[in-house]
Amino acid sequence: MVVLWGSNARETHPIFFHHVLRAVRAGARLVVVDPRRTATAEFADLWLPIDVGADIPLAHAIAHEIIAAGLVHEEFVARATTGYAEFAAQVADWSPERAEAVTGVPADLVRAAAHAYATAPKAQLCWTLGITEHRSGVDNVLALCNLALLCGHVGRWGSGLSPLRGQNNVQGGGDMGALPNRLPGFQAVTDPEARTRVEAVWGHPVPPEDGRNLTEMFAAMETGDLRAVYVLGENPAQSEADVTRARRLLGDLEHLVVQDLYLTRTAELADVVLPATAAWCEADGTVTNSERRVQRVRAAVRPPQGARDDLAILTAVAERLGTPIGPPDPETMWDELRRVSPLHAGMSWVRIEALGGIQWPCPSETGLEPSFLHGRLWADDPAERGRPAPFSVVEWVPPADPLAADFPIRLTTGRRLDSYNTGVQTRRFSSPLRFGETVDLSPADADALGVAPGEVVRVVSRRGAVEAPVRIDPGLRAGLAFMTLHFGDDVDTNRLTIEAVDPKSGTAEFKATAVRIERIPAPVGAPDAPPAR
């Protein structure tokens, strides 16, 4: 069984979805939780049409039903988890009927999904940004983890929890320590043992406290604590929620360095632009995919004149700063990582090549670990089992941007099949599927507003307004609208979104904006529309 929660994998992870389809063809059930009846939902046995931001109540109600129906994997819960009693007490209040009132998901469907998940011999629960791009993003994830623990759907082949990463190296970036609270190998900055290990290799002390995440950086720009920023391969002037504010803050910096392939909106604000190469085809190195597989990228194309690869730029900058960090050689860098990160110790460059990628953990150069994590939780020996997995008591926090009479429509955002993020790369190829930015409305709302497909309307949120043509999507329920962030140059969707941030992850609530749709009156003096024939 596969659960896709807040994921339109058919369009956003098409090749992952091939694997799902193969499982479905072999008899696996597919449950899709999504506010929209997406292309993914169309392949599902069950589609749970959830109201945006109601993930925690839905997860709690599913847990409630699993417990009420006696479907808890009691042996696993008793041996391998903690906090069950508190968790059970909390979800006891969340009957499917109560949840229906706030999630919009019919109680019968909640029950059906609960039974299907709890009784499946194996179940994989996957999510994407529909879960994480909320101000309760981390708690949303924990609520899903609770379900897996409840049913023992973790730590076995074919059963587990999997965030589907949106970019080819989100996982790798974090693994390499490109997080404010992590060292390479996903080791905590606050862990003295890890710090010692890293310091021994680097020959420098590592500050023992967490750094700032992106949101905190913007907050620090606001207060003036952060005055210089070095941006690599990001386009926050277009990708941030509430971009008006983001652009103001970036523009007010004393010094902004941007390293990118293109002169992006962010680069336009920079004092210094460092032209980089396309890491995936003009440079050598590694990336790590959603299944923690470290894979080799290779230079296939000679870069344009003047562009240098990220490693060359970074080592050169370090050199200028008086702190050489080694030669700009990817394999040397990689070997350094292997010395500081036990997860990667066994992955020699040669081995990664030979095996076509290796999943971490890979502590040893001989042998491979199982492809799934947390298998230890099933061990008979308590010592081997180790620290039990905790249930989390998480409270529902509704979206920060409430619906109201003047903002009655819930706008959610996501990707389309042929485009990627702010479109910096994908708009440069001619896609027969592309039709530009639209505001997708349900047939019912389009009817009520009296708007026709293609008609340009104004979409207004509490923060700003954009104009976009209407597209009618029968997969949308009344009250739900959809836009992408792909065409920011034409339609700046992020003028609408809210900078309401998850305090734990720093991710903004891109998925839940309250808007209204306004028809645009014909300008005064403009010729009238042609009369109907």
Partner: protein, 294 residues
């Protein structure tokens, strides 16, 4: 449990012993007759057989003689059975292979199909013997989008593209076999253009096409201009950057004819053995690489 062809699941670890042209070979249970021929060191021609699609055995060039079987047997899809006596070079086999080559080459443009010349010599095929008026499937190339073109005068109806588009991989069902007999063709509904069809431009049909009937627009344009230069092309495996799945891309790069002329990604494929892709990609991976040239 059965496989796609309805055969029972093989017993793991078990083997089957057969003879190929009198030589005894042992192959794993579940292996095909083609596998057995390969194991015996016999080179078997195949056209419609692809390594990522369940064998359809429609081209019939891989047929072999199996003792006890009245008709010849398609080696690509028949399971090797204990004691099978397989003949790969009998007069009947040679004749059938020769005729398949003659029938196809007299009706379809095989000029871009690998091995045809070599096999035609091996089996003595003379496709011209049916005369200048022999019916063919010649027709104009379908050029209706910037991603890829469809030249059905090169189509041998191997069914791989429809299977890849359909339930073996993509589940898009944008193309199917339409019509019947000699008039059968791969088609969208009512032969509408791809932009009017359900096509999502994953290009997984191009990946499996054995005759280059389906071709990247880049390749088609370069060939048309006379600028297609395989001798200046390299292939490099890397990882797609457009999501977190980590699909291996094989970038086919054509070096510029001069130092001033830049490199160009002319085609993108994926290794069929990749555990992530199985040879498949989506529109972004297959066709979205152009940004590095802009």
């Amino acid at each position: 449990m059965t496989d796609g062809a309805g055969n029972p699941a093989p017993a793991p670890g078990a083997t089957v012993t057969v003879t190929v042209d009198g030589r005894t070979v042992e192959v794993p249970d579940g292996a095909t007759v083609l596998d057995a021929c390969t194991a015996a060191g016999v080179d078997t021609p195949t056209l419609c057989f692809g390594d990522t699609i369940t064998a359809r055995n429609v081209c019939r060039i891989c047929v072999v003689d199996v003792a006890g079987s009245r008709a010849l047997v398609p080696s690509c899809s028949r399971r090797a059975e204990p004691g099978m006596e397989i003949g790969t070079d009998t007069p009947r086999v040679r004749h059938a292979r020769r005729m398949v080559l003659e029938l196809l080459a007299s009706s379809v443009d095989l000029s871009l199909t690998d091995h045809v010349e070599e096999w035609s010599i091996r089996y003595g095929a003379d496709p011209d013997r049916f005369g200048p008026d022999a019916a063919t499937v010649a027709q104009p190339v379908k050029v209706d989008n910037d991603c890829f073109v469809r030249d059905y005068s090169r189509c041998i109806l191997c069914y791989q593209c429809t299977d890849a588009c359909g339930e073996q991989w993509q589940h898009t069902f944008a193309i199917a076999i339409a019509g019947r007999g000699f008039g059968a063709t791969v088609s969208t509904e009512h032969d509408v253009t791809l932009p009017d069809s359900a096509c999502v431009y994953c290009g997984n049909c191009i990946e499996v096409c054995p005759t280059d009937a389906l071709m990247f627009r880049t390749e088609f344009d370069l060939r048309t201009m006379g600028a297609w230069a395989p001798e200046r092309q390299t292939r490099t495996d890397t990882i797609c950057a457009f999501c977190g799945v980590g699909c291996t891309l094989t970038l086919h790069v054509q070096r510029g004819a001069t130092d001033d002329e830049g490199d160009r990604i002319v085609k993108v494929t994926s290794p069929h053995g990749s555990s992530v892709t199985g040879g498949n990609l989506c529109i972004k991976g297959r066709f979205g690489a152009g940004h590095v040239h802009s």
